[in-house]
Amino acid sequence: MKVLSALFLIAAASAEVPPGPGMQAKGGAPGRFIGDPMAIEAGKESYGLVCSGCHGVTGEGGRGPNLVTAPGVQKASDQELFGVIKDGIPGSDMPPSPLDEERIWQLAAFVRSLSAPAISQNVPGDRDAGRMLFYGDAGCTNCHMIRGEGGYLGPDLSNLGLTLSLGRIREGLLDPNNRFAKGFDPVVVTLTDGTRIEGVAKNYSNYALQILDRAGRLHFLASDDAAAIEFLVDSWMPADYPHTLSGDEIQNMLAFLSRLSLSSDATPREGAPQ
């Protein structure tokens, strides 16, 4: 419990929680819930009712700590996570939970999914079909690299499963304009001689700009080399995948992306539901 001291706050403790998916009794074994998409979904619903007031709608903090990035959450065992939600943290604003144990496990599964590396989630779907889509019709390698192969304007995906949660990967795929990865602000720069550079801003200040263009050229500019810079509202990444990909294709893509890792040591969590 010490690990998680002061990490959680559960407000609205008396809120009524309607039944959700995955609510069958499962005997309380954490392995049955952690990583289970149904349980995560059910936990998400409970979270919206009893946790988001303090920890934020996306879990990224508010009055309470950020559950996505907090090292204490990431390092805590599943049982410790369950314990803190169940019992609260005495002496803090984090109260004991009014939920039954099954719902608490679902909540723990959801909180774990916020920050757990996607590779530990055993995301369902046809990974090979996702790979074919990635390298084929979806055109992802126009901008993204995996193991050094691909384009320049999107973040490297080689270690994606180790470094991002499933939620973040899903967001990146389906809602790329919601946030841009650091160093990937889409820009169009017009130089004083009229030359136009399209790319991403690796860095910029009042005095200097570092722009990577679509061909992999780095442009190091003093600010007065540029007449104008336009930060684009939309990412270079297509935002229409929710419409152009079927539900199965999205799931297959997530199954593929969530397992990307350079490390041969990284294996999906044993015993997690398939």
């Binding site: 193991r147 860095n203 007065d224 336009e230 297509p238």
Partner: protein
């Protein structure tokens, strides 16, 4: 179900990357405007042809930028510079900076590594930049984007290893070594494919049972004898051999369980780049009980000795003696003490073997011996200026009280046979010295103030300047001919690395990595007033 990608994306496919390739031939010709390998050049001379900064203007050097490395505590990285980008390593991470401004372009954090040990730098080849993680993975990144290409584990931390070495890129391969010798490992050197990361060869620096040299150990120590390989070596392209230094035997301070010479600890080994076969070895400190590894730079020079030009390997060794070896055979040519405080040996015999003075071994009650465990020299960079003919070495004058223990040697728990400590805080001083390598003669010296807690070394330039970190948190510039002080700057942090120099758009810069920050200097020029482009603040 999917429509074709947007038209502009399709157009991008036609655009070929224009990143300039770093070829083996470029590294062979370095340094020039770029600094392409840990030592700057394969000969470990660390002499730059850049001459914009010279004796007439070095006093006008000013700080150009400072880059802070978050989470850093003791940076030891020698940067690589290529095509306007500087690459600096910390434990398990790489930072790519615009060299002229210090602004970060990308930062790569290798995921999943809990071990955090020092890191000495990177290697560059083709479109890739390479480094090792603390837990001994050789990592390849795209140098433009920092995208990961492969991570190949080459040593297992469960066997006592950790890794800090800057890889050396030669032709199609990377040479890497291992650390951990102070706690028991079986040292080795390895070559890996730059393309795939596959291991091409592996050379043990401790013999296997029954092999030549195995009888120079004892049964308890042979499997864990140490002889780490954590300092980058040098390379002779004509011979196609690398010259790599090896670390001390284990347990460091107690030799009772390893009664022989303990091959190939404390040596320089000549190794065929293609096959990994050892061509010769020269051991500086047989049966070392003072932790005097040989991780000092092995400089490749051509010297006139006895009326003949000789291709030699030169090393100012941690044990206090200066050695000149024949590069082809490893034959000892000449040597001499290069520090004044040296009490463990009376000299070198005709084969270069030290004439040990009895009774100078560490003891349970402590024995005062000079030089210190830190060494008369260490892994700090040396440099050699062909114009002055001088070899510049960061030396230390000091002694330690060495203690030992006959405790059962247990590997991988940090047991080193006990250790050494200074008699008094006032006992010890770094001195930058210039030697004539052909004779070993000390031509000039520049004593430093400070707590003897630095790992800073030297850099030579064609501008006649010797740059160095000092022991008192400065970057300094000395006259390469006379050792006279010309300039200094207080970086406010202990300096654990050695300076490099490079140029961009015709301007020469000097960079040094200190404890937590990277500092870059250049000649003063008035700052250009700056006008932010339209739209910069409209996001």
């Amino acid at each position: 179900m999917i429509r074709a990608a947007s038209s502009f994306l399709a157009a991008w496919l036609a655009a070929a990357p224009l990143a300039s390739q770093v070829r083996y031939e470029d590294i062979l010709a370095a340094p020039g405007e770029d600094w392409l390998t840990f030592m700057g050049d394969y000969s470990a001379n660390r002499h730059s042809p850049l001459r914009e900064i010279d004796k007439s203007n070095v006093a006008n050097l000013v700080a150009k930028w400072v880059y802070h490395v978050p989470q850093a505590t003791a940076l030891s990285s020698y940067p690589i510079v290529h095509d306007g980008v500087m690459y600096v390593t910390n434990s398990n991470e790489m930072h790519a900076l615009e060299a002229a401004t210090g602004r970060p372009i990308w930062v790569y954090l290798h995921p999943g590594v809990e071990m955090q040990r020092t890191n000495r730098g990177a290697a560059i080849l083709g479109e890739r930049i390479y480094f090792v993680t603390s837990d001994c993975q050789l990592v390849a990144l795209n140098r433009i984007t920092g995208a990961a290409i492969f991570a190949r584990r080459y040593a297992n931390p469960d066997d006592g290893y950790f890794c800090s070495v800057a890889p050396v890129a030669i032709k199609d391969r990377l040479i890497v070594g291992v650390s951990g010798g102070d706690s028991g490992i079986r040292g080795f050197l390895a070559a890996h494919s730059a393309e795939s990361g596959e291991q091409l060869w592996k050379l043990w620096t401790i013999p296997g049972e029954g092999e030549f040299g195995a009888d120079t150990w004892g049964p308890k120590t042979l499997p864990w004898g140490g002889a780490g390989t954590w300092m980058p070596g040098s390379y002779d392209p004509d011979l196609n051999w690398i010259f790599w230094p090896t670390g001390n035997p284990w347990p460091d301070l107690y030799g009772g369980d390893r009664p022989g010479d303990n091959l190939y600890s404390d040596s320089v080994i000549a190794v065929d780049l293609e096959t990994g076969e050892m061509q010769w070895y020269f051991q500086f400190t047989p049966h070392d009980v003072w932790d005097w590894d040989a991780q000092e730079p092995p400089l490749l020079l051509e010297l006139e000795i006895g009326g003949q030009m000789r291709r030699v390997v030169v090393q100012a060794n941690r044990n206090g003696f200066y050695y000149v070896l024949d590069r082809l055979t490893g034959e000892f040519i000449r040597g001499n003490a290069f520090v004044d405080k040296l009490t463990w040996a009376s000299g070198l015999d005709p084969h270069g073997r030290p004439k040990k003075i009895p009774g100078m071994e560490p003891s349970p009650d402590g024995k005062v011996v000079c030089p210190t465990m830190w060494g008369a020299a260490n892994w700090m960079a040396d440099s050699y200026n062909p114009d002055t003919g001088l070899h510049y070495v960061m030396t230390m004058e000091a002694c330690d009280i060495y203690t030992s223990s006959a405790r059962e040697p247990i590997p991988k728990i940090g047991f080193a046979g006990t250790g050494a400590e200074r008699q008094s805080r006032l006992d010890g001083q770094f001195v930058i010295r210039a030697f004539d390598p052909a004779t070993g003669r000390r031509v000039w010296e520049y004593p430093l103030t400070g707590p003897t807690a630095s790992w800073a070394g030297t850099l030579s330039t064609a501008g006649g300047i010797l740059f160095s970190g000092d022991d008192d948190k400065h970057l300094i510039a000395l006259d390469a001919v006379t050792g006279k002080h010309l300039w200094h700057f207080n970086v406010g942090q202990t300096v654990n690395a050695s300076p490099i120099t490079w140029a961009r758009n015709g301007k020469q810069y000097v960079t040094i990595v200190a404890q937590t920050d990277v500092f870059t200097f250049g000649l003063f020029s008035p700052a250009r007033s700056s006008v932010a482009p339209e739209g910069l603040h409209e996001r």
